[in-house]
Symmetry: C2
Subunit: 342 residues, 2 copies
DNA sequence: CTGAAAGCGCTTACAG
DNA sequence: CTGAAAGCGCTTACAG
């Protein structure tokens, strides 16, 4: 039915091997022969059978991506959607396909990638750093299978692409200070995540350098309800707080909810900024100022790095760290007494 | 390196064919033999090589899903993320993998699926109805390749899963009437989408049955800015409007923006309801009342239908239409003069 | 530069 | 119920 390499070979009066060589751009084919076959391929719109190719070449021409799926979030978190989209573009640009998988828990991630590897469904993997236990990282590493994590992991043999969490937190904290804030609370995720620790470090560094106490740090799980409650606690405990730095976009919704319920106006009564931007931050009133993680860049870079690994390269640096960018909107009030409009 | 069917055959003292039969659950293997091989498979954690299997069986064991990616939206639209997640779960449950693809335009969709088909990367396809030109539908149909669209298409030979757009719009319009609204505006997407037309029909039916004018219908593209402007126009044109029914969750943001800028309070000054729910509708103040499309159901059903087709079934009905559900929250005020609290 | 041939790891009629 | 064999459509040393 479908046209095969054998048909091409017959039509071009060459062997299947030669056709195969031009398909794969291998060297050692006469220019004239190559042209002739190339023309045939185009005219007939020939596409190689991916299974046959995979079997013979021991490759699948797929890249696997496993995305956490916990409760309501996962893909709906905009971060992962953007990442998936960015990775997919790179993958397709190289003639690969993206194999998509979700995982509800760490064990699911493990079983996901195990079958993917064993069945040779993918030549490489991109995975979120968070949901990945150290044992699993070690296991993957010993299998010598190309993969990169998005976000740094505790295991420093792992290739990763990350955002400059420390720098981003520093940037934003400096911005808050510039705006005249002194009583700043950091609302952040569970301490076990490395990036949470890094954001705390960035925040603390700048606060301490300014001679301020960096101790208003609150942890909470990534749930709107929890963030709301935590915000209320925080504001009760430190009513003098003038700004909350929510170090994850999902926490922002909780802060907004809490402010609404407490009849606190943003930014008049309380400023709010975020680490990690979100498309709907422009819709809220006021629009939310945020550190953008430039997720597209992250995804693109992760894919590029993965393809290097797939092609056998051994990059010297394990990690690639991308800089962040502050998107100033209107959720942070200027508290400078001396501020005067120009 | 990896263990193959040949190894299993040797270990079990049978032929490769027999092993293959038990892997695939084919009949005609002795109970004892089957058990022995099954045990071996489990003990060795054997997984069949997917490329080899695909080549021999002329299947890929992949389901492809192509998702529109226009501007900022696509996956971030929560609708598609939820759909992708739901489909993926079904796909994985059947031992298949999900091949994910995005498309920026109709032509991209076409080239996407063409290579997927030609290369035999997938055994079936799930696609959004919108982004699919009639020529492409016809082309896919003539190739006799299993696919189902999410949403009805103009071509009635196409298998699809859809939501009861007319019924959902009817439900919500009735709810608005119940709440005492009479001056209701429908803000909806471009008229060329069949589901837009259906929602308009549902709205109009109920309005007319109540003796009301169903003519406050406004169309706008799915962009926040556009929806905002349209809302302003609408309110200028019909200042007596007491409720806006936004027939797509993305339009809701625009309405909210407009209300904020015009200092109009929701729901005190204006009620707002939506067709299509969104996770963040619970975060806004007030929480937004919406028709839920039960996207998980849609995704699950689409996958189930697709697998029927992949397995050669020829379902009699082309379409499966799922009912919607109203999620009442707080964005719609009760305007009944005679309303009294109990 | 090109061809012939083996082989990738499965499935599937066909015999028995 | 089971085996032997052909074949799926490619790739890739190996010769020449």
């Amino acid at each position: 039915m479908a046209i095969t390499i054998k048909d091409l070979a017959k039509l071009a009066n060459v062997s299947k091997g030669t056709v195969s060589r031009v398909i794969n751009g291998s060297s050692g084919v006469g220019a004239e022969t190559r042209q002739r076959i190339l023309k045939l391929i185009k005219d007939l719109d020939y596409q190689p059978n991916i299974s046959a190719r995979g079997l013979a070449a021991k490759r699948s021409y797929n890249i696997g991506m496993i995305i956490p799926h916990t409760g309501n979030y996962s893909l709906s978190s905009s971060y992962w959607s953007a990442l998936l989209t960015a990775v997919n573009e790179q993958v397709m640009a190289r003639g690969y396909n993206l194999l998509f998988s979700t995982a509800r828990a760490q064990d699911d991630v493990a079983s996901s990638y195990r079958t993917i590897l064993k069945r040779r469904c993918a030549d490489g993997l991109i995975i979120g750093a968070d949901q990945f236990g150290e044992e699993h990282l070690a296991e993957l590493l010993t299998m010598d299978f190309p993969f990169v994590t998005v976000g740094k992991t505790p295991n420093n043999s792992v290739y990763y692409v990350d955002v400059d969490n420390r720098g981003g937190a520093r940037q934003m904290t400096e911005y808050l200070l510039d705006q005249g804030h002194r009583k700043i609370a950091l609302l952040t995720g569970p301490l076990e995540y490395p990036y949470v620790q890094e954001r705390i470090q960035g925040f603390s560094q700048v606060m301490m350098a300014a001679g301020l106490s960096p101790h208003q740090i609150f942890h909470c799980p990534y749930q709107i309800q929890a963030a709301k409650e935590k915000t209320k606690d925080l504001l009760k405990l430190f009513p003098e707080t003038t700004a909350i730095f929510a170090a994850c976009s999902e926490l922002v919704w909780g802060v907004i909810k809490a402010a609404q319920e407490m009849k606190i106006k943003i930014p008049d009564d309380l400023s709010l900024v975020s680490f990690d931007d979100h498309p709907l931050f422009e819709v809220f009133s006021p629009e939310i100022t945020a550190v953008s993680q430039r997720i597209n860049e992250v995804g693109r870079t992760a894919a590029e790095r993965l393809f290097e690994l797939v092609e056998g390269a051994v990059p010297a640096q394990k990690g690639i760290v991308l800089s962040t960018e502050i998107i100033v909107r209107r959720s942070c009030a200027n508290r400078c007494k001396s501020s005067h409009p120009h």
